[in-house]
Amino acid sequence: MDMKVAKKKLGIKERYGHMTRGLGWEPTYQPADAVFPYDKYEGIKIHDWDKWVDPFRLTMDAYWKYQGEKDRKLYAVIEAFAQNNGHLNITDARYLSAIKLFWQGVSPLENYVVQGFARAGRHFRGEASRVACQMQAVDELRHYQTQAHSISNYNKYYNGFHSQRHMWDRVWYLSVPKSFGEDALTAGPFEFLIAISFSFEYVLTNLLFVPFMSGAAYNGDMSTVTFGFSAQSDESRHMTLGIEAIKFLLEQDPANVPIVQGWIDKWFWRGSKVLALVGMMMDYMLPKRVMSWKEAWEIYAEENGGALFRDLARYGIRPPKGWADACEAKDHISHQVWLLFYEYGGAAAFHTWSLTNEELDWLSAKYPDSFDKYYRPRLEFLRDKHARGERVYQSTLPTLCTTCQIPLCFTEPGDPTKISHRETVYEDEKYVFCSVHCQEIFCNEPEKFVQSWLPVNQIYQGNCFNPDVDPTAPDFDPLKAVLEYFKYNLGRDNGEFEGSEDQRNFAMWRGQASKN
């Protein structure tokens, strides 16, 4: 028998190569363009897929081992949380609004990108890039499902969680993240990668994931924070994919640079608009605050992002077009969005409330240049009205930006007293925007953005009523009919926190659990 002992030892890189790149082949019975039909039409030129640098070298055996271990721990906590009424350990029932916002507006995006990454994981010609995308696809499945399982317990006891899926497809403010996700999913595979892996995961994740998870940690939400810790290593892999992907595209061909730059401009701006919701959450919804939105922006966007774009300058990439405006907005957007939701509180499936003096002082200290001047007086005015029994609820419908779909509530750069507003006429139709950057995104792809399903416009067209309602009936209440179409439990999911069922139940149950 041939007893060969001195077998060649493979290096990690070589071994991983056999486990991924080595598996694929160039088709000969079908044209390669038929097998991979989607990776050319965006104009990106790839000359050598072998130059792709593996962002992480994880084979399935190791993946199962790590992830299995993590999920065993995570589910033990989820289980214990449910068994011991962990929800009663949160700081205050107002905190629930933050998780509602996450569940309604962020979790569905996790689920969306499963299919997006599966598509990229099938349709790039390079095997190594495909494997990295597939791992992210299945990770994102993990994130959605673990969020559903942790939030399941909150849903049993509190309002606003129950019809997240139904609301996602219909509710006015959820069309902001929904249109963001669908914009990415309907783009070609390279734009998808720049949108999600680079612009979102790499540049902005610390402004989304970290604030929510730190907010959970600060506010006694054991279930969400355990998920956060558990997802951290997945997130770092996703960030590495983002940075490797962009470097690869930029190095492959100089003609890719302007295309990629256009996508960075677009997706940075779109992402920063979605993040306005996070800003509001951080500054207003967390009873125990982590840091202000402005501070988070300065650390994660200005410092980290600034360094990143200095690094990318050698490829001919400059900071995104909207950068300066987005930086200026750090003093304003969280307040503007909170005021919007406060006034439209009747139409939101989470609660809003008046801030205490202590909380207003905190904001004054964190926003010395803007809060006392522009926002504190309005918040105090609204609080006074509420105290007099005249809680303000807007019932007129706002105008939405055609691109980001946020109601026009942001102010002009350089003038925080003037609502920013732009218009474009395209094929005899007028389109409205919240900013010059959203307008530009539209003008670059008008045939795409004329399709936007704008909730307010749809309501006016009568498309947001349940099929069994009769709008000609004499007692027809259109606002109520729309909220029913959203599947709100009126008076329980929406409106003022003070006096809400969530507030009452939390106080009562905490009393039961902590007093005799």
């Binding site: 000969t28 079908q30 084979t59 299995g68 589910y75 099938r122 299945v138 669908e182 659990a513």
Partner: protein
């Protein structure tokens, strides 16, 4: 005697999410599988048409000719969700890893008779490319499928396919020098015996109907390849010739095939029972792809079983036909 710890009991306002309740007959306690999958995919008010396929909506059941009144009927009898999947695979991986260690530590890979080793490498290593093809098809199925009840198991299946391709790669690297992988790839690309199989798999890469992709890959291809290769070739032929080490190194595959078949059968059975039209279409797909697969596997069976090839292949086809019949498929 029973010990009962008292905990503060709070009566919940509701048991589950409405998208789940609507699919399980009302608001009642729901399983993790149900909360992870039922009613989860977006269904309406989509914003933009895909630039890569403007003829369809972003999420669109018309990407298959199969029609379902309720796509969420196509449930996974294994009730897998991510955590149960990854925890289960981690356990199975531990067993598979122990097998690799056992074979290596006792040098069983070095004591394989030469002709057995050669036969094992000749037959098994090109199949790592077939497993990669399966991975491609399941990613395609995942990205095109309608309803979360298909999307969620699809991506897990795709990752399983990748794991299998990697186990086969490890087998090659353990039994011989890395060059055997190149030799096997050359066989896959130009070796006469492998061309019908590769041709068929490449043709499956251009199928766009997601239910057809599901059926072709997970029912027909796997349903013929796994019993032929892992039950008959590895467990019978090689083992009887002193190659049981190979069976240890591939023990994951037949075990996995048994599990995934439960899913595939569960989906097809319901889709067939839905309508005569579905039944006819699924039967037609099955017949066409089965006949093609049998022809493609014939030269590989000749390599694996020599004179015994016809019996082995016939047994596998009969087994497959019986399985199809049980699902209501006429093929």
């Amino acid at each position: 005697m029973s010990v009962e710890i008292k905990a503060v009991e709070i009566k919940p306002l509701r048991n589950t999410f409405t998208n789940v309740a609507e699919l399980i007959g009302g608001d009642k306690p729901a399983s993790r599988y149900q909360e992870a999958t039922l009613g989860v995919q977006a269904t309406t008010n989509m914003h933009y048409r895909p630039t890569w396929e403007p003829e369809f909506e972003l999420f669109d059941p018309r990407r298959s000719a199969i029609q379902m009144r309720e796509w969420y009927d196509l449930k996974d009898p294994r009730q897998l969700y991510y955590a149960s999947w990854t925890i289960q695979r981690a356990k199975e991986q531990e067993t598979q890893e122990a097998n690799f260690d056992f074979v290596e530590s006792r040098c069983l890979h070095l004591s394989l008779p030469d002709h057995v080793k050669k036969l094992a490498l000749d037959v098994l290593l090109p199949l790592r490319h077939a497993a990669w093809g399966a991975n491609m098809n399941n990613n395609e199925f995942c990205s095109r499928a309608f309803s979360e009840v298909l999307i969620s198991p699809a991506i897990m299946q795709a990752m399983d396919n990748l794991g299998i391709a990697q186990y086969l790669t490890r087998l090659g690297l353990l039994l011989d020098e890395p060059e055997v992988l190149d030799i096997a790839k050359a066989q896959w690309m130009t070796g006469e015996a492998w061309q019908p199989l590769r041709h068929m798999i490449e043709d499956s890469f251009v199928v766009r109907d997601f239910m057809e992709i599901f059926l072709v890959q997970n029912f027909v291809f796997d349903g013929l390849i796994y019993p032929l290769i892992y039950d008959r070739f590895v467990d019978d032929t090689l083992t009887s010739q002193g190659g049981s080490a190979v069976a240890m190194l591939t023990s994951f595959m037949p075990m996995w095939f048994g599990q995934s078949s439960k899913w595939v059968d569960g989906v097809l059975k319901v889709a067939v029972a839905e309508s005569e039209q579905n039944k006819a279409l699924i039967s037609q797909w099955t017949t066409t792809w089965r006949d093609r697969a049998v022809a493609a596997l014939t030269p590989i069976a000749a390599m694996a079983f020599g004179n015994n090839q016809e019996t082995m292949l016939n047994e596998v086809v009969e087994q497959f036909n019986a399985r199809a019949k049980k699902l209501g498929i006429v093929a």
